[in-house]
C-alpha cells in the first residue's frame, strides 16, 4: 500500500516490540547514576494538629543527606492555587495540620531507598489527634469537625445552576421520581505508580523534573509558582513510556513540587518512586458522591426536567482540577435526552479522606449511573419498557449539531441508530422472552440498558463554572477556554519522515496512530515514519491544555498530526511544481510523489525532494521557507469560556455509547454473573480498530470494577481500610467479561479526520448498565440498586432485607421518596 488507506486499519503497534522485550523506558528505568532516594513520612492520623518535628535521629543515620519537613514547606513554598474562592491552603505537605491518613508530613533523602525508608521511621512528628469526619453529608453538619479553620466550613464550593425553567417543569409534571444514590471512591490504580526525579542546577537556577506525569496541563504553571520559579526554569521531561494512568497521574503535581523542593534544599538529585501502599493511601481517586435526584415527566414518558443535588467528597483539600468532579460533564449533563429544564445544586465537600481528581470517566460514571437509573425508575413507574422511555426522549438524528440547554455542542451523532444497533445485537426481544422463562423458573435474570454521550477533549474553561457569575463578571477576572495540540512533521536529508508531538501516552498507542496518519497523508507506510511523542517543556510546543487526558488525543492530537502532514505535503507539492517548471495547479500529490496531472514528465518522491531541498537550497522556489518540515497547532473554535448563564461547551467532541447487558444474580451468594454484554460506540472516524477495541475492553473493566468490586473504604476515624491490593479489589481475568462490540460512525465536523475520543468509554456506562440489569433481575423482590459497588456482601444483605432468596416473587412496591434517605429531598415544584 503506498497512498491512502491507512486510516481505519488494524495496524499492530510500533510500541509493542520494545515493551514486549523489556526495553521500555519508564520513569524508574531512566539511568540516574548519582540520584539519591526519597522516602516520605506520612500522617498516621486522619486529622491531627502538627506540634513539631524531631529529625535529629534521621539526620544522624549514615547515608542520610537531608530531611525536609512541613515547616520547610511552609517557609519555602506557596500553597497551590485552588479552583475555588474558599481560602483553602493546600501545600505539597501538611503544614499546620494533617487532614487525611497518608498525607505527606516530611521527606527523608538518603543514598538509597532502603536507607531512606529506615530513616523515615526515625522522624518524630508530634501530633495532637483531632476528631475526623469522612461522610460528605455529615461533614456539613453544624457540629462536624472543621478541617480548615480559615474556611470555617467543610464546604469548599457550592453552586446552584439553573437551565430553562425547572420549577415549571416539575409543577407541570404528571409523574415525579425521586431517589438517592451513592457512588464509591474509585481509583483506577495504574500498575506503575507515581515516579519523579528532580535535579536542581543552582548556577543556572533550572529545576529539571523527570516524571510520569500526563501534563504539563494547567499544573505546570501552578507548580512553578509554588516553587517560586519562572516556568522556563522548571523543565518537565516525561519518559517515553508511562505504565498506565487513567487520569490518576494528573494529580501527581504536588509531589513534583515536593521532590523539586527536596532537590533544591539538599542539592542532590532526588528520586522518588511511590509504593503501592502510598498510592492507595494518598495518590488520587474519583470522588465518592451522595446524589439526590428528581425527574419530572409526562405520563407518556416524556422527560420534562431534572434536578441534581450532589455532595462530592474531595477529601482533605480541594486539589486542582477539582471541583471538576461536579462540572466536567456540564455540557452533557442532559446526556442523550431532549429535556430543556434542569437544576443542579453542586456541593464540593472536604472530609478526612485522601484527595481526588480526574479518574477515567471523570464524573461521567457518576452522572450516568444516576441518570440512567432514574430513567429506568420512570419506566418502572409508568409500566413502560425502558427502551421505549429512552426512545421517547432521544435527541433526533437530524438535530445535530445540537446545542444542549447547558451549553454543550454535540457535534454529530445518530443516537437512535446506535441504540437500535445495540438492541439488535443483544436480540433484545428474545432476551426479554428468555428472562420471562428464567423468572418463571425462579431465576433472577435481569436486562439493563445504558446510554451515554461520551465527551472528549475537555475545554479547560469549564472549571470556571465553580465561580459564580458575579465573580466572573469582575473586570480583574480572566476568562478561561481552550483545547489545543501541536505536531511537527519533518523530512530528513535522506528522505525519511519523523513526526514530533508533546503528548504523554500511557498505553494508548500514539506512536502507532501518528505513524498511520502521516503515512496516510503522505502516501507512505507507517514503518517509514518515526514518531517521537515525549513531552519536554523546553523543546515541545505546548500550552495550558497540553497533555493526555479527557480522551483528547483521538480528536485533537490526531487533528494536529493530519494538519501538519497536509501542510508539509502542500510545501512539497509547491517545491515539486517548481522543479518541474509547472504551475502548482497542474501538479498533484499522488502515490507518495509530486506528479504532473497530465501524467507526463518527471515525478518527485519525498526522497527526491529531500535530496534536493536539504542539500541545495538554491533549488527551492523563491519565497518558500527553507527546511522540509511543517508544524501545525490545532485548536477548537467551539471551546469558549463559560457564559453569564453558566452555560459552557465543556468538551469539544461528543461520541455516543449504547449498551445492553443481561445478568443473573445468585440470591444465595449475591454474586452477579454477566450473561451478555453489548456495547455500540459512535466515535466518528476510527483510525485503528485494534486500539479502539483495546480501549473499549479496558474502559469496560474499569467500569465493572466500580460497579461490582472497587471501593476505597475508610472507618469512622478516617483510617483507610483498603491500602493493599488484597483489600482494594481490582478485577482479574476471571472477572472480565467478553463483550460484543460494534460501531456506528458519525464523523465529527470539527476534527481534521472526523475522529472523536473514546478512551473513557465503559467507565461512563458500565456502572449504570450493571445497576439497571441487577435492579431488573431483583425487581420481583423489590430490590433496586442505588449504591455502588454491588459487591456480593452488599447485594446479599439487600436480598435478605427484602426477605431472602426463598421468598415468592411479588409485585415491586412503589418507590418511596424518602426510602433510605437521611435528608429528604426538596418537594417537587
Amino acid at each position: 500500500m503506498t497512498s491512502e488507506g491507512w486510516i481505519g486499519k488494524p495496524v499492530t503497534r510500533v510500541e509493542d516490540a520494545r515493551l514486549l522485550t523489556g526495553r521500555g523506558t519508564y520513569i524508574d528505568d531512566l539511568p540516574m547514576p548519582h540520584a539519591h532516594h526519597a522516602a516520605i513520612v506520612r500522617s498516621p492520623y486522619a486529622h491531627a494538629r502538627i506540634l513539631g518535628y524531631d529529625v535529629r535521629a534521621a539526620l544522624a543515620m549514615p547515608g542520610v543527606v537531608g530531611v525536609v519537613t512541613g515547616a520547610d514547606v511552609a517557609a519555602k513554598t506557596k500553597p497551590f492555587a485552588v479552583g475555588v474562592t474558599s481560602p483553602v491552603h493546600y501545600y505539597c505537605t501538611a503544614t499546620d495540620k494533617a487532614r487525611f491518613v497518608g498525607e505527606p508530613v516530611a521527606v527523608v533523602v538518603a543514598r538509597d531507598r532502603y536507607t531512606a525508608e529506615d530513616a523515615a521511621e526515625l522522624v518524630q512528628v508530634d501530633y495532637e489527634p483531632l476528631p475526623a469526619v469522612v461522610d460528605p453529608e455529615r461533614a456539613l453538619d453544624a457540629d462536624a469537625p472543621v478541617l480548615h479553620e480559615k474556611v470555617g466550613t467543610n464546604l469548599a464550593n457550592h453552586r446552584r445552576l439553573v437551565y430553562g425553567d425547572p420549577d415549571r417543569a416539575f409543577a407541570e409534571a404528571e409523574v415525579v421520581i425521586r431517589e438517592r444514590f451513592r457512588f464509591p471512591k474509585i481509583g483506577s490504580t495504574p500498575i506503575e505508580t507515581y515516579g519523579i526525579v528532580a535535579r536542581w542546577d543552582p548556577i543556572d537556577e533550572v529545576l529539571t523534573i523527570w516524571a510520569n506525569f500526563m501534563g504539563p496541563f494547567i499544573m505546570h504553571p501552578l507548580t512553578a509558582r509554588v516553587l517560586g520559579l519562572p516556568e522556563n526554569r522548571m523543565r518537565l521531561i516525561v519518559p517515553q513510556d508511562i505504565g498506565g494512568s487513567f487520569g490518576i497521574k494528573t494529580s501527581m503535581f504536588p509531589y513534583i513540587a515536593l521532590i523539586g523542593l527536596t532537590a533544591m534544599t539538599t542539592g542532590v538529585t532526588v528520586k522518588w518512586i511511590e509504593d503501592r501502599r502510598e498510592h492507595l493511601l494518598a495518590s488520587s481517586s474519583g470522588t465518592d458522591r451522595v446524589a439526590y435526584r428528581e425527574l419530572a415527566a409526562k405520563k407518556d414518558g416524556t422527560i420534562l426536567g431534572m434536578r441534581f443535588r450532589w455532595y462530592d467528597n474531595v477529601g482533605g483539600y480541594i486539589r486542582s482540577p477539582e471541583p471538576g468532579c461536579s462540572y466536567r460533564p456540564l455540557g452533557n449533563y442532559v446526556g442523550p435526552y431532549r429535556f430543556q429544564h434542569l437544576e443542579v445544586e453542586a456541593s464540593t465537600v472536604m472530609t478526612n479522606k485522601s484527595l481526588t481528581g480526574p479518574n477515567r470517566g471523570y464524573a461521567c460514571g457518576h452522572l450516568y449511573f444516576e441518570s440512567e437509573r432514574m430513567v429506568d425508575l420512570l419506566a418502572e413507574k409508568l409500566g413502560m419498557d425502558p427502551v421505549a422511555v429512552r426512545k421517547k426522549n432521544l435527541i433526533a438524528t437530524d438535530a445535530f449539531p445540537y446545542r444542549t440547554p447547558t451549553g454543550g455542542l454535540y457535534d454529530s451523532g445518530d443516537y437512535a441508530g446506535a441504540f437500535d444497533r445495540a438492541l439488535e445485537m443483544a436480540r433484545y426481544d428474545e432476551l426479554r422472552r428468555e428472562q420471562a422463562k428464567a423468572r418463571a423458573a425462579g431465576r433472577y435474570v435481569g436486562i439493563g440498558i445504558a446510554l451515554a454521550v461520551d465527551p472528549s477533549v475537555s475545554n479547560m474553561g469549564y472549571v470556571a463554572t465553580a465561580l459564580d457569575p458575579q465573580f466572573r463578571a469582575k473586570p480583574e477576572y480572566l476568562a478561561k477556554s481552550g483545547a489545543m495540540e501541536a505536531a511537527t512533521v519533518k523530512v530528513d536529508p535522506l528522505g525519511r519522515v519523523t513526526a514530533i508531538l508533546g503528548t504523554t501516552p500511557q498505553g494508548q498507542g500514539h506512536q502507532t496512530i501518528v505513524s498511520q496518519i502521516v503515512a496516510h497523508e503522505l502516501g507512505l507506510t507507517p514503518r517509514d515514519v518515526t514518531v517521537v511523542d515525549e513531552m519536554d517543556t523546553f523543546t515541545r510546543i505546548w500550552s495550558i491544555s497540553s497533555g493526555t487526558y479527557s480522551s483528547r488525543f483521538g480528536s485533537v492530537g490526531t487533528s494536529a498530526t493530519a494538519l501538519a502532514a497536509r501542510k508539509l505535503r502542500t510545501k512539497l507539492v509547491e517545491y515539486g511544481a517548481h522543479l518541474m517548471s509547472l504551475p502548482v495547479d497542474e501538479v498533484e500529490w499522488r502515490e507518495g510523489a509530486v506528479r504532473a496531472k497530465s501524467g507526463k514528465g518527471a515525478s518527485y518522491t519525498i526522497k527526491d525532494l529531500a535530496g534536493r531541498g536539504h542539500w541545495n537550497t538554491e533549488s527551492l522556489p523563491e519565497g518558500i521557507e527553507a527546511g522540509l518540515q511543517a508544524t501545525a497547532v490545532f485548536h477548537f473554535d467551539v471551546a469558549k469560556a463559560v457564559d453569564e448563564h453558566d452555560r459552557v461547551n465543556s468538551s469539544n467532541t461528543y461520541g455516543f455509547i449504547a449498551e445492553v447487558m443481561a445478568v443473573e444474580v445468585d440470591p444465595r451468594t449475591g454474586a452477579v454473573k454477566i450473561l451478555r454484554y453489548v456495547t455500540v460506540h459512535d466515535a466518528g472516524t476510527i483510525i485503528n480498530p485494534l486500539i479502539v477495541e483495546g480501549q473499549i475492553y479496558g474502559g469496560a473493566l474499569h467500569g465493572l470494577g466500580g460497579a461490582l468490586y472497587e471501593d476505597m473504604q475508610y472507618d469512622a476515624d478516617g483510617q483507610c481500610l483498603t491500602a493493599t491490593f488484597m483489600d482494594y479489589l481490582v478485577p482479574t481475568a476471571c472477572e472480565a467479561p467478553t463483550i460484543d462490540i460494534a460501531h456506528v460512525s458519525s464523523p465529527s465536523p470539527l476534527t481534521t479526520l472526523g475522529s472523536k475520543g473514546l478512551g473513557e468509554s465503559g467507565t461512563m456506562t458500565v456502572p449504570a448498565v450493571v445497576a439497571n440489569a441487577v435492579s431488573d433481575a431483583l425487581a420481583p423482590i423489590g430490590v433496586r440498586i442505588n449504591e455502588l459497588p454491588i459487591n456480593p456482601s452488599a447485594l446479599w444483605a439487600r436480598i435478605h432485607q427484602a426477605g431472602g432468596p426463598d421468598m415468592a416473587p411479588r409485585t415491586p412496591h412503589s418507590l418511596g421518596a424518602s426510602r433510605e434517605t437521611r435528608d429528604a429531598p426538596r418537594s417537587a415544584g
Binding site: L20, T21, I191, E192, G243
Partner: protein, 162 residues
C-alpha cells in the same frame, strides 16, 4: 544494616555475581544491580504480579523474595525471551492480538503465561483466565491477553513436537 553478602545466580543463561545487603529484594537486585529493568515493580506485596520471573523454571514473585534466597538459582526474565531480532511466539502473539497497552504488567504477564503453557500446554479459555489471574492488568480488560495466550498455545504445542 548488615554487611553485604555475595549473590551468585544465572539470569537468562548468563552467570552473575553481585554483593548486596541480605535484605535486598530479588527484584531490586535484578533491576538495580544487574541493570535488567524489564522486570517491573507494581505493588511489593505479591498481588499485582508485574515482577513475576521464572526461578528454576517456575513463575515466582521477585518482590517477595530476597536476592540471597535466589543464590544459585537459574532465573529467566522478559529480556531472555526473544532470540536475536526474533520475538518469542508468545511475544509475537501479544503483539498480534493487542495483548498490551501500557506494557507495565506485560513482563510479568508473559512470564506467568509461559509458566501456564509449560504446565498446561493446551489450556481452555477458562484455564487461561485462571492462570493469568495472578497478574493484574488495568489497561486491556484482559481480552487481548487471553486471545494472545490462546494463539501462542496453538503455535507452541506443534513446535514442541518437532
Amino acid at each position: 544494616m548488615s554487611e553485604p553478602v555475595t549473590v551468585r545466580l544465572t539470569v537468562n543463561g548468563v552467570a552473575h555475581e553481585g554483593r548486596c545487603e541480605p535484605r535486598k529484594l530479588l527484584v531490586d537486585f535484578i533491576r538495580e544491580d544487574l541493570g535488567l529493568t524489564g522486570t517491573h515493580v507494581g505493588c511489593e506485596h505479591g498481588i499485582c504480579g508485574a515482577c513475576t520471573v521464572l526461578i528454576n523454571g517456575e513463575a515466582a514473585r521477585s518482590c517477595l523474595m530476597l536476592a540471597v534466597q535466589a543464590n544459585g538459582a537459574e532465573i529467566a526474565t522478559v529480556e531472555g525471551l526473544a532470540t536475536g531480532g526474533t520475538l518469542h511466539p508468545l511475544q509475537e502473539a501479544f503483539r498480534e492480538h493487542h495483548g498490551l497497552q501500557c506494557g507495565f504488567c506485560t513482563p510479568g504477564m508473559l512470564m506467568t503465561a509461559l509458566d501456564l503453557l509449560r504446565v498446561n500446554p493446551q489450556p481452555t479459555e477458562a484455564e487461561i483466565r485462571e492462570g493469568i489471574s495472578a497478574v493484574l492488568c488495568r489497561c486491556t480488560g484482559y481480552h487481548g491477553i487471553v486471545k494472545a495466550v490462546e494463539a501462542a498455545a496453538k503455535v507452541l504445542v506443534p513446535a514442541k513436537r518437532v
